[in-house]
């Protein structure tokens, strides 16, 4: 065994995962072929709200290759109700959520019948032969209308209001009363923003295979959460948990979209049980867009109070959040994750957050990259710009005078979070320098003065976020049904090679590489000698999986603790082998030595000695394995400063990102290649919300953006090259000093882009433009603005009432 020459942590290691991914050797769920495997296809409701009067399966059942056609009635006794693990309030309304609709459909795309056939083409053929009679009901689509309770999504609930969740700093004791702050303020700014509905759009469509043989249900699923899924499948179907094994093989992206217990997973399991044969289901892209959960979809009414000198004094947030038709795994909690982030990096003395969750006849919403925090960051960063405009101050200046200074950490916020570390000044200084802020402001001035048809705008986002989900006691206090710990095991093999088992479940993040780096450093073994096992409940028996930028901060810490346990035992055995006192044993670069002597044993020697167990200290168990579970004390708080320059063509409304600088502080960086990659991808998704993407339903509740031709996931040609850099203040909440990076780019970028576009056209009378800022919307806003430049084009309440702000 050789020692590693230089620290692995911080090294730009190329990824272990890539070898199979660049050669087509990857194991996606849809690649799996089992002997006797049948194929499931799902019939989906074309209407958003209806009673199912009758389903006639007779023609479909008679078609060639069709083994079985089933409706919700057939499964009613065994399918249970899909789980919601986050009842945010005691009185939250929660409708039954059958995997297959039984007597009523509540969104277009909901599953109403399924076909099991000998191949996927024949299963799809048979769908067309199923006749369903629907009695259509009035559709409920608009949240504000829904709250009038004239038409009800779920009549049995008696209301479309799911729950109202409140945080008030005066009640919590973390701050003062916001109504008093507003009443006594020198400046009050009130705006309403719309967080459009988005579709996560992971590239790998969801797929499930269930093998019911050998007295065990083995499920392969394109999921982010094999461990939670196993638990929930057992809870929903009543199949004993130890008789279910869930495997997440290679998974092609998730972004929160595969943080779900899906109807199709339950149906595939039940169908395989009924058939006694393996069953596979793989969705089409349109099925994915119709029925996999959506993200965002909030109306945000924000009131900010301040003094004339720019000091903020209060923040009041009133949200409406669209649940869609059902509560999926964490649907109601997503907007609540934002509750602790609206105050962001600023020292608000008073804060109130009130969120009303609303049912509509749309696809359920749930986690999508950032999950509640992008919405919060968007709102506050837009408001800081609005305040700057109102007071005629530079938008960076106003942020600077209100943010937490680097020497004020740890800092307990008005929302009750304790930010452990950060340096907003440093990140901002670096970003301003890379961006050329002053030069761009000069150019902006020139273009304004010359009436250039292409105007330049500068947008700022000085964000923070909470990562490392999550301290279990906090989740408990928030009424979440599970904990937030993570687990890791290390198995030292007799040849000195290392197996790492992690409870995280990567789907593109590179855990196999990064976990190897951490272990190589800690144990002094070569990077190549570490194998990382994950995503199979048979080998990785417990875990809380991957989402919420948690894997490294929580799972990586569990791994460090497991490595330390290995070393603690190995040190004891090394002392025994070298016949010295344990206190005299030193460990460095993979080798134990007796202090002040040349006597040494490599970790490999010690591991072998533990394995053969010929001569162990009294009471020591053979072998050199360790398990550790880490429950964090606190969240981690990455932050950064993002600056965006856009060119807005005032004649066409076309927006072009001229330059984008992202300086992020994610704490210690284990692998800079992977961190940069996470930031790039995050930026693309945040920019896409600002400029391109929107899930649109027509007045009947039909999703009109159910293909990639209609839902505009940006291509390479739609995005700029990004300039990324980092500052680092290590987290104090974990031994690695890491903060998490999975969501930072997405959280930060959306407001930077929108602020930038508005900055380009504000002098033309535009006050707001609703996302996505399509050329049509920008152009329309400019028409409204230039028609009467003295009147704010967007009216008094921001985007929702913006005559010029939406088409």
């Amino acid at each position: 065994m050789t020692a590693t020459a230089e620290p692995e942590v911080g090294k730009a290691r190329l990824r272990k995962e890539d070898a199979r991914l660049i050669t087509g050797q990857t194991k996606w769920t849809d690649n799996i072929q089992l002997t006797g495997m049948l194929h499931m296809a799902v019939l989906r409701s074309p209407v958003a709200h209806a009673r199912i009067r009758h389903i006639d399966c007779s023609r479909a059942t008679a078609m060639p290759g069709v083994a079985l056609v089933l409706t919700g009635e057939d499964f009613a006794a065994e399918q249970g109700s899909l789980p919601c693990a986050w009842p945010i309030t005691e009185d939250m309304k929660s409708p039954p959520a059958p995997a297959l609709a039984v007597d009523q459909v509540n969104f277009a795309g909901e599953a109403v019948a399924l076909v099991i056939a000998d191949n996927a083409y024949r299963a799809a053929d048979a769908l067309a032969a199923i006749d369903v009679d629907y009695d259509e009901l009035p559709v409920v689509l608009d949240m504000e209308e829904a709250l009038k309770d004239q038409d009800l999504v779920h009549p049995d609930l008696g209301t479309n209001k799911c729950a109202t969740w409140v945080f008030d700093s005066a009640e919590a004791g973390s701050g003062t009363d916001v109504e008093e702050a507003i009443a006594s303020a020198e400046v009050v700014i009130e705006r309403t923003f719309r967080q459009q509905r988005l579709i996560p759009s992971f590239m790998e469509p969801r797929s499930v295979v269930v093998d019911p043989s050998a007295d065990m249900f083995t499920m392969w699923s394109a999921t982010q959460i094999p461990h939670i899924l196993r638990w929930m499948l057992s809870a929903v179907t009543g199949i004993a948990e130890h008789k279910i094994r869930v495997i997440a093989p290679d998974v092609g992206g998730g972004f929160g979209g595969k943080l779900q217990v899906t109807p199709e997973e339950v149906l595939c399991l039940l169908a395989a049980r009924r058939m006694g044969r393996p069953v596979k289901w793989t969705e089409s892209r349109t099925e994915s867009m119709l029925s996999a959960h959506h993200g965002r979809d909030q109306i945000q009414k924000i009131t900010l109070s301040a003094r004339r000198d720019g000091t903020v004094t209060g923040l009041k947030v009133e949200l409406l959040a669209d649940m869609g038709a059902y509560l999926r795994l964490v649907t109601p909690g997503i907007p609540i994750l934002g509750a602790f982030m609206f105050n962001a990096i600023y020292k608000f003395p008073a804060y109130r957050f009130e969120c009303t969750n609303v049912f509509t006849n749309k696809t359920p919403t749930d986690a999508y990259r950032g999950a509640g925090r992008p919405e919060a960051t968007f709102a506050i960063e837009r408001m800081m710009d609005e305040l700057a405009v109102e007071l005629g101050m530079d938008p960076m200046k106003i942020r600077e005078m209100n943010w937490i200074k680097h020497d004020e950490f740890p800092f307990t916020t008005v929302a009750g979070m304790t930010y452990d570390s950060g340096n907003y000044e440093a990140a901002t200084a670096r970003a301003m320098e890379l961006f050329g802020y002053d030069d761009l402001r000069e150019e902006q001035k020139r273009r304004r003065e010359s009436g250039d048809p292409v105007q330049l705008g500068i947008g700022i986002s000085t964000y923070t976020e909470m990562c490392g989900l999550a301290p279990s006691r906090v989740l408990g206090a928030l009424r979440y049904a599970a904990g937030g710990w993570e687990t890791a095991s290390i198995r030292m093999l007799p040849t000195g090679k290392v197996e790492v088992i992690t409870g995280t479940s990567p789907h593109g993040q590179g855990h196999e590489t990064v976990w190897s780096q951490i272990v190589a450093d800690r144990l002094g073994v070569p990077f190549e000698d570490v194998e990382v096992l994950h995503g199979d409940t048979a080998s990785s028996h417990k875990g809380m999986d991957s989402y919420g930028s948690r894997s490294l901060t929580v799972g990586g810490t569990a791994l460090v603790h497991a490595a330390d346990k290995v070393l603690a035992k190995a040190r004891k055995l090394a002392a025994h082998m070298m016949e010295c006192d344990e206190a005299d044993v030193e460990f460095a670069a993979g080798s134990f030595s007796v202090r002040g002597t040349s006597t040494a044993r490599t970790l490999g020697d010690v591991v072998l000695a533990a394995h053969v167990a010929h001569d162990l200290p009294e009471g020591m168990e053979p072998g050199m394995d360790a398990d550790a579970t880490f429950d964090p004390d606190n969240f981690s708080f990455p932050h950064g400063t993002h600056l965006c320059a856009t060119e807005v063509d005032t004649e066409t409304g076309m927006v072009k990102i001229r330059s984008y600088v992202a300086v992020d502080d994610v704490g210690t960086v284990v692998n800079p290649l992977i961190v940069d990659g996470q930031v790039h991808g995050g930026l693309a998704q945040g920019i896409a919300q600002a400029l391109y993407e929107e899930a649109i339903h027509d007045e009947m509740g039909t999703l009109t953006t159910a293909t990639f031709a209609d839902y505009l996931v940006p291509s390479a040609a739609d995005l700029p090259a990004f300039m990324t850099a980092r500052t680092a203040t290590p987290a104090t909440s974990n031994p690695l000093g890491v903060k998490g990076v999975g969501e930072a780019g997405t959280i930060a970028s959306t407001p930077a882009v929108v602020n930038s576009v508005l900055d380009a056209v504000r002098h033309l009378g535009v006050r707001d433009i609703e996302m996505p800022l399509s050329p049509e919307r920008v152009w329309t806003a400019l028409q409204g603005g230039s028609a009467d430049a003295s009147t704010p084009a967007a009216g008094g309440l921001g985007s929702i009432d913006a005559q010029g702000g939406q088409s």
């Binding site: 090294k11 730009a12 290691r13 190329l14 990824r15 995962e17 890539d18 070898a19 199979r20 991914l21 660049i22 050669t23 087509g24 050797q25 990857t26 996606w28 849809d30 690649n31 072929q33 191949n119 083409y121 759009s201 992971f202 590239m203 790998e204 469509p205 290679d250 998974v251 092609g252 992206g253 972004f255 089409s284 892209r285 349109t286 789907h507 593109g508 993040q509 990077f527 190549e528 290649l673 992977i674 940069d676 990659g677 790039h680 991808g681 995050g682 930026l683 693309a684 998704q685 293909t707 990639f708 031709a709 996931v713 291509s715 390479a716 040609a717 995005l719 090259a721 990004f722 780019g745």
Partner: protein, 177 residues
């Protein structure tokens, strides 16, 4: 219908339904699961393969249309255990995360480089417009394609699939295998 197709150097003779998509023929019949399906509308490009050396979206073609033609998939690029320079460049530049779009992206990049041996940033971006990636923001993909162009000079073409000897290059940050 009876078809005869050469896929990655092996000739297959099969009876297929006329409606069978080429991508499903590759995946289900031949077990060439390196080529994947990402959408139904030809927008995402995940299923891109080469037909007689030029990129096509295999979910937009029937298997019968490949009758008598040569198909190259991601699985047919490496030769004698050596990666194609575009494959190598994708790894060296961290141009993939989940990797689902990667086979199609690599096949399209090879086609692009056949036409544009030394593409600038914008040419790469436009040349890959029909291939969607949700993970990388494209930044490292663009870099990888330009890096591959350097590795492949004087250029790759349908008739001249090139294979690089270098496993570690100057642009590779550290390590490698």
């Amino acid at each position: 219908m009876h078809i005869s197709v050469n896929v990655d150097g092996v000739t297959y003779a099969d009876e297929v339904e006329p409606r069978l998509l080429l991508v499903h023929y590759l995946r289900e019949r031949l077990g060439k699961t390196g080529t994947v399906v990402g959408c139904d509308t030809g927008n995402c490009g995940a299923c891109t393969v080469h037909l007689d050396g030029h990129s096509v979206k295999s979910c937009q073609m029937f298997a019968v249309q490949a009758n008598g033609h040569e198909v190259t998939t991601i699985e047919g690029l490496a030769r004698d255990g050596k990666l194609h320079p575009v494959q190598q460049a994708f790894r060296s530049n961290h141009a993939l995360q989940c990797g689902f779009c990667t086979p199609g992206m690599i096949m399209q990049a090879i086609d692009l480089l056949a036409d544009e041996p030394d593409p600038d940033d914008e040419t790469v971006r436009k040349g890959l417009e029909g291939n969607l990636c949700r993970c990388t923001g494209y930044q490292n993909i663009v870099r990888a394609v330009q890096d591959a162009a350097h590795r492949m000079r004087p250029g790759a073409g349908p008739k001249m699939e090139q294979h690089s000897d270098d496993h570690v290059t100057a642009t590779q940050p550290v390590g490698g295998e």
